[in-house]
């Protein structure tokens, strides 16, 4: 089963932390990534550029509407993601809890529809 871990974080809070702390967190991220790669659980993952770089695109009545910024104004924004291979939700939850940003923000764990039991029973 593949699960995506959407990493939501408060951007001002992230920006406010000291450089040493930030480096420490990046180090933790690299460690987690190595661990996942070594155990064959890593599929993809990356930090995202700040929300200031976001562009939202909608097509309505055949017309393209482009706006500056993320799709919703919330306190916490999508700041990165991991795509992992896990046996079940328990294993996925364990991985999510190891993501450093889980301590400040929220990790939303969602199974991918691909490869899931597809019969609607």
């Amino acid at each position: 089963m593949k699960y995506i871990m959407l990493i939501y974080q408060n951007e001002p809070q992230w920006n406010a932390i000291s450089e040493t702390e930030r480096q420490q967190i990046y180090l933790e991220y690299r460690k987690l990534r190595d661990e996942l790669q070594n155990s064959g659980k890593f599929v993809a993952g990356s930090q995202l550029q700040p929300i200031g770089t976001a562009t939202s695109v909608r097509v309505r009545d055949g017309k393209e509407l482009v706006t500056d910024g993320p799709f919703a104004e919330t306190h916490e924004h999508l700041g990165g993601f991991f795509l992992v291979e896990a046996r079940d939700l328990d294993e996925a939850m364990k991985i999510a809890a190891k993501i450093p940003s889980a301590r400040m923000g929220t990790i939303e764990v969602r199974p991918l529809a691909e490869g899931a039991p597809a019969v609607a029973r």
């Binding site: 046996r87 079940d88 939700l89 039991p117 019969v119 029973r121």
Partner: protein, 425 residues
């Protein structure tokens, strides 16, 4: 849902009585095994319902089998395999659904389930899946009652005063999350077992409290909930014998439940512990509760349910309020506060101190706990009770009035109104 109707249709003859009993007692056990085999809650439920339907006609004609539970399991298992095969035929035509096909291929011919076949682990798996932390607590409760308890959607909706379609939808969503997010159907590994067990215990206690807290109407159904929580708790004790908190929880519910007939008077009004007629307390439940709490405490691994049970035990052993060992109760609440710093515990501690050291000390403690508790019914009600006993009647009236504005429970409202009239308002 089906069984009650079948039983009524078939009259009160022996087979239907047996069926009703088997349904209540064995539903959780049978469904747990079927879910493991089917890998699906819905398929398991369907086949068990079909098995119950054939039991209605077959038992009427051929008599009740020697082991009705095993009979039902075997028949349901055959029906399950049939429907999985039908599904497989469908799937063969759509080869992209390999996942399902693999699952079906791995199935063997159904073994026959006789007396010797016991799968205690299945019920444990089921308990932990139903109470998985990724499900909301209302969903955990509904799913536990539906699958382990064998209660119908109608019964659960009625007990929790939720519209039936809402509850049905909640169950559908839960089952679909279990399937799609792959919530495991297994006993959690040791490193998380302790945490997971706490959420199972919390669900059971929530079910009990829903039945125990007095709300007008539906009182029979709600008593059912208390009985159901106690039954589930017995299952948990049976399956995980080395967990003293399981026994603490069972003891607590037995001891609290033993007071239910004394707790509400003929007019449906709440009667406080000090005014209760203690001869109405259920002695058998008290005896069992006392034995269990003692046994749990002997393990030396104290937990919150055990301490609460010990407090209930001190009350249960006292012939009257005056003869209660308040010193012991205060000490137990102190210990409880170290584990559980909830406002209810702090208020109960203060109330016990009021009984042991004096009303003034109790009142001081309650007022120290204020702050966060200002929106809390119980805070104002407890404070008002102490003020009333201290004869500070106008202060008491003000506190009762505030409490009244904070509760929606009609029995509690009635109780406060009665007190208000006593203090002269």
């Amino acid at each position: 849902m089906l069984l009650r109707e079948y039983a009524t249709l078939a009259g009160m003859s022996n087979p239907s009585e047996t069926l009703e009993r088997v349904f209540r007692e064995e539903y959780g056990r049978i469904i747990a095994t079927l879910i493991r085999i089917a890998g699906s809650f819905d398929l398991a439920e369907e086949s068990l319902q079909e098995a119950f339907a054939s039991a209605v006609s077959r038992w009427e004609e051929e008599g009740v089998p020697r082991n009705p539970g095993a009979w039902l399991t075997t028949v349901a298992h055959r029906k399950l395999i049939d429907s999985l095969r039908r599904e497989k035929t469908k799937i063969d035509k759509q080869t992209e659904l390999e996942h399902e096909a693999r699952r079906v291929e791995s199935l063997q011919e159904p073994p026959s389930f006789d007396d010797s076949t016991e799968y205690p682990d299945d019920r444990l798996r089921l308990i932990f899946t139903c109470c998985h932390p990724s499900l909301s607590s209302e969903v955990q409760v509904a799913l536990t009652l539906r699958t382990l308890g064998g209660l119908t959607t109608t019964e659960i909706a009625h007990a929790f005063l939720v519209p039936e379609p809402t509850l049905a939808q909640r169950l559908v969503r839960a089952k679909s999350k279990i399937r799609l997010a792959q919530i495991p159907y297994e006993v959690p590994s040791l490193d998380i077992l302790g945490e997971r067990l706490k959420s199972v215990q919390a669900v059971i206690y929530l079910i009990f409290n829903e039945g125990y807290s007095p709300t007008v109407g539906n009182s029979l159904v709600r008593r059912d909930l208390c009985a159901e929580a106690i039954r589930l708790s017995r299952v948990l004790c049976e399956l995980l014998r080395d967990e003293p908190e399981n026994f603490g929880l069972l003891a607590l519910m037995l001891l609290q439940g033993s007071r239910r007939d004394a707790r509400i008077n003929k007019d449906g009004e709440l009667v406080t512990l000090e005014e209760q007629d203690r001869s109405l307390w259920n002695r058998a439940e008290i005896e069992e509760g006392l034995r269990l709490v003692e046994r749990a405490l002997q393990t030396g691994r104290v937990g919150s349910y055990q301490i609460q049970a010990a407090i209930a035990a001190v009350h249960a052993e006292a012939p009257s309020v005056a003869e209660t060992d308040w010193r012991q109760i205060v000490a137990l609440y102190r210990e409880l506060m170290l584990i559980n710093s909830s406002p209810v515990v702090a208020l109960n501690h203060a109330a016990a101190v009021a009984m042991y050291e004096g009303l003034e000390s109790g009142l001081r403690l309650i007022e120290e706990a204020a702050g966060d508790l200002d929106q809390y019914y119980l805070y104002h009600a407890s404070r008002a009770d102490l003020l009333r006993r201290l004869n500070r009647l106008s202060d008491a009236a003000a506190a009762y009035t505030r409490a009244l504005s904070l509760t929606t429970n009609t029995v509690e409202q009635q109780y406060i109104r009665k007190r208000l009239s006593e203090v002269g308002l």
